[in-house]
Symmetry: C2
Subunit: 332 residues, 2 copies
């Protein structure tokens, strides 16, 4: 797999072999099909992996293929049953992922939310009995590409401690919001200070981590990445990040009747289904304001943000998602 | 006004005079009526101020009466026109606050969202041409008290710099999410690291502020509260907080066609209407899952969080909004 190694640098490192996105997707699909995954599911999973690599989020990219294949072989994915809509109203839907791939169920939820919001102006779909689907941003952007405001959130394996507490209670529960614009403005953030991957990386390179990233198993602050990996991550902004993570746990898991908090299974360490839940929402701007006027308002806002750039040469202020779009263009 | 001074401490400081909430509300209403505000509007504004004091958020409490009265006298509030619904669908509504009090228009949006969500399972209302309405939490909780998940956000006067930038571009754009529970679980957070009030307080007491709170007018980090007040606040978690603030600006201001970013007027420093926008959303849990089962899931989640309390005597982990409920009970 070493020739597939992607990096977060915007330019390829010498020694890396460059593959086109099509070839990478073809390869990922072939690996998944070989492991027994149906064509349609393999395509959905490969799309998610390659989109993450294209945007510079390689930790959610094709480097996940080995763990996915290990989990397939261990029976962690139901390969027989496709996700299905188990209940719906004109504005809501509940999808059962049946312990299959999260990527397939989430895409179904995105499609359902788009379709319902086009009719009813706002729609919310939840997914139960699901698994990790990688990066949220590309899915939220699929909603924005249809002219709707998109929202995606998911719970995850226990990793984070509430302020004043100890132990792992909630996942790093990420959320994504995508706003229709020339290239969609997309916030895609975990509610922890940093991703666990950064701590794994620090341990591998033998470097300490900054204070404020993590606690040890007893709930004490630590700068030792090994202790942190045995301990827990801290929420971004203390009570703020933890409150967001808790709200996401309610939206993604309590509403969908999925596994909650400490019940959730790990992507990397278990051979059982994770049981996570997701929530997708879509909102039609033109239910509130003419579409042209909305676009003008977003344009005005985006200009104000860009104009805040410092005068030094090379200084840049990015809109949320802008670095990912830039990396994606370069890599394509 | 000194006898009305509230503090954020949970027990009254000696020297403070304790007033019952009813007396405080009566007083605030009387002051507002005396300044020319109609009874119904005075009641709505006084409710918001007293709820903030009861929850320990005195910066949003009756200590705001003097600035409100000054602004009334300067003509910053339209006292003649009540807010009105200018367009609606079964799931959405647009309310024009007509440059009156934000408290009245936001309450109308909350009522509209509740009513529509009870029929359509999910509803979103926006408010345009509005003004500061104080704390978000009490309004979001009014939605949760009806068994719905409540969401409230607003833009605000420019105060915050994007990462890598300089100057004030966005407000501290707060959001609140309230989950139905014994006492509602309520996250109520600004997207800045700290509220501007904390920096004002530091300047008054002649203390420096920690690094990471604010920038000076040139966009350089500062620990001098006076420089910070001339400069800008930093978003919580860097790109994360700024991305949230930007998304809130789109939801609250771009959708409602309100003033955006640097166009927004200050509560404390201008005599003109602020022109801010708000967004309120309500979601019926029982559109996805039986109400009893949802309550069990939230209970299970809340228990997990409380069980993460450290073993030391006196250690406590709070659910979002729990300290406010506790302070409110004590103060009542």
């Amino acid at each position: 797999m070493s020739h597939l190694r992607a990096t977060d640098a915007e330019t390829p490192l010498s020694g890396d072999v460059l593959l086109s996105a099509d070839v990478l997707k073809w390869f990922a699909e072939a690996v998944l099909r070989k492991a027994g995954v149906a064509d349609e599911i393999a395509a959905a999973v490969a799309w998610s992996l390659v989109e993450a690599d294209l945007r510079g989020h390689s930790s959610h990219g094709v480097m996940r293929l080995p763990v996915i294949v290990r989990r397939i072989r261990a029976g962690a994915y139901n390969l027989e049953t496709l996700p299905s809509v188990v209940s719906e109203t004109p504005t809501t839907g509940v999808i059962d992922a049946a312990n299959g791939f999260g990527q397939v169920a989430l895409q179904m939820a995105v499609d359902l939310a788009i379709q319902k919001a086009q009719g009813a102006n706002v729609a919310v779909a939840v997914v139960r009995r699901s698994q990790n689907f990688g990066s949220l941003g590309p899915y939220a952007e699929r909603i924005a590409e249809r002219g709707l405001i998109g929202f995606v959130c998911t719970n995850g394996a226990p990793a984070m401690t509430p302020p004043g507490g100890r132990g792992r209670v909630l996942g790093t529960n990420p959320l994504a919001i995508s706003i229709p614009y020339k290239e969609a403005i997309t916030l895609d953030m975990a509610t922890s200070v940093v991703a666990r991957d950064k701590i794994t990386l620090a341990r591998k390179s033998g470097r300490p981590i900054p204070e404020g990233w993590a606690l040890d198993a007893d709930g004490n602050p630590t700068t030792d990445p090994a202790e942190a990996l045995e301990g827990s991550l801290l929420p971004v902004g203390g009570h703020k990040g933890f409150g967001l993570a808790l709200a996401i746990e309610v939206l993604a898991a309590c509403l969908s009747d999925s596994s909650i908090g400490t019940e959730v299974g790990w992507l990397y360490e278990t051979t059982r289904p994770q049981g996570v839940g997701h929530l997708v929402a879509a909102l039609r701007p033109d239910a509130f304001i003419p579409a042209v006027r909305f676009a003008q308002n977003v344009e005005r806002l985006a200009s104000m943000v860009k104009q805040a750039t410092r005068p030094e040469p090379g200084a840049t202020v990015y809109l949320p998602g802008e670095p990912e779009h830039r990396t994606r263009r370069q890599r394509l």
